[in-house]
Symmetry: C2
Subunit: 241 residues, 2 copies
């Protein structure tokens, strides 16, 4: 039996208690991990998470596609913002993408102290959990949050993933944050579009007019992506099996 | 209208967004804030929170009563551990108490950068919220957690307090953590004794045989205490009005 621990903010990641045989699953529903999945669905071959815009600019000059968002808005020089639905408009088969976001890439940077990292969103729950169940590792679900504070939508996604993993009979929740995420998901899942309207970042994006994204990010299992860290960037394992 | 923000761990306290006219309410259900309330109910006049055991020893030598707990267990030289029910066995009218705990006093230390601090537990919910409603301040509920990780019981208490404050019509939740606490409390409140059994610290104290405390700490409104910081320690305002 493997354990599930949920970490509700990157600022709490130094205090995780799972130590052995650990796989970190980063969640940033609005919108980084959902966008990574969408980018893979549209054929992107590899995604390099980048913290600083200076570094992203270097990647652009080396011929990479670039995506960058700050405070919910696209950064001017980048090809994409943080909108998953923008990736779905055409095929980017074989291209490589460098990606920088406010919260998601910060969480990925923290997770990089471990070798095993995967990315979860509502869109790839089943695809990812099928793969996770085969890994036989203890899972820590790291919610990206918003500038180190708690995000409702990431926690609901952590609860949804924990539920699928527990239902496999191979995993058991090991901390109060996992129990709380499961309970929040149980209360929200039958009316998810209503439940997520309470989230501050949902309201922020709503005011920015990102209605297509807000629908897409809560569409369960619309993606087949299994984004996994290969040592230098994320690749989609669903294409390699 | 005043705001309610919930901070789910002391490690997240640097990231609170409420800036003005702020009152911090520290919660450590198992067991520090519940014990503070019980100590006041038994006549204690003032409680000095102390971080280090060295400092507590100095207070003992100066004639203070002392209470100290580490990892759920009483520290040998102290008069009390962290058990609220131990305070209820006799009267300590007019005595002063120095108090050191694993998590609760850490949270209080962080809150001390603000002048206005109060303490909440399930036992003093109504007494405290009656007082809070009169203060016309924005409230940040700081959950003490367990060694910087999320605690279910503190979050449920934060949700219970937020519910009472919102019902007054004078407060509105301002963050996702407050929404989540309210939702968790709504799911748990009709079966609180069952719901809290999922909490890791409940299980830890259960294994240590602290059954009386585990019952007492979830007894709603059994205390009249309104513990408020006066600049050097906590006093019970319910005795002064």
């Amino acid at each position: 039996m493997n354990t599930i621990e949920v970490c509700l903010s990157p600022a709490l990641f130094p205090f995780i208690t799972t130590k052995d045989n650990l796989l970190v699953v980063v969640v940033d529903v609005l919108r980084a991990t959902t966008a990574f999945c969408a980018a893979f669905d549209s054929g992107i071959e590899k995604i390099i998470p980048v913290s600083k815009l200076e570094e992203l600019w270097d990647y652009k000059n080396r011929g990479f596609l670039t995506a960058a968002e700050r405070d919910g808005k696209k950064v001017d020089f980048a090809d994409f913002g943080n909108s998953p639905t923008d990736f779905l408009k055409q095929s980017f088969k074989g291209k490589q993408l460098a990606y920088s976001t406010t919260n998601g890439t910060q969480a990925v940077e923290m997770a990089k102290s471990y070798n095993d990292i995967a990315l979860a969103s509502f869109t790839n729950l089943n695809a990812l959990s099928d793969w996770l169940i085969k890994q036989e590792k203890n899972v820590v679900i790291l919610c990206s949050g918003w500038k180190n504070t708690f995000s409702l939508e990431d926690t609901l996604c952590a609860g949804a993933l924990a539920e699928v993993l527990e239902m496999s009979g191979r995993f058991i929740s090991s901390c109060d944050a996992a129990s709380a995420s499961l309970s929040l998901w149980a209360s929200a899942k039958n009316s998810l579009p209503e439940a997520v309207k309470k989230a501050n970042h949902y309201q922020r994006l709503h005011q920015l007019g990102q209605h297509n994204d807000l629908r897409y990010c809560f569409l369960l299992n619309s993606s087949t992506a299994v984004p996994v860290w290969d040592g230098t960037g994320f690749i989609d394992l669903s294409l390699r099996e």
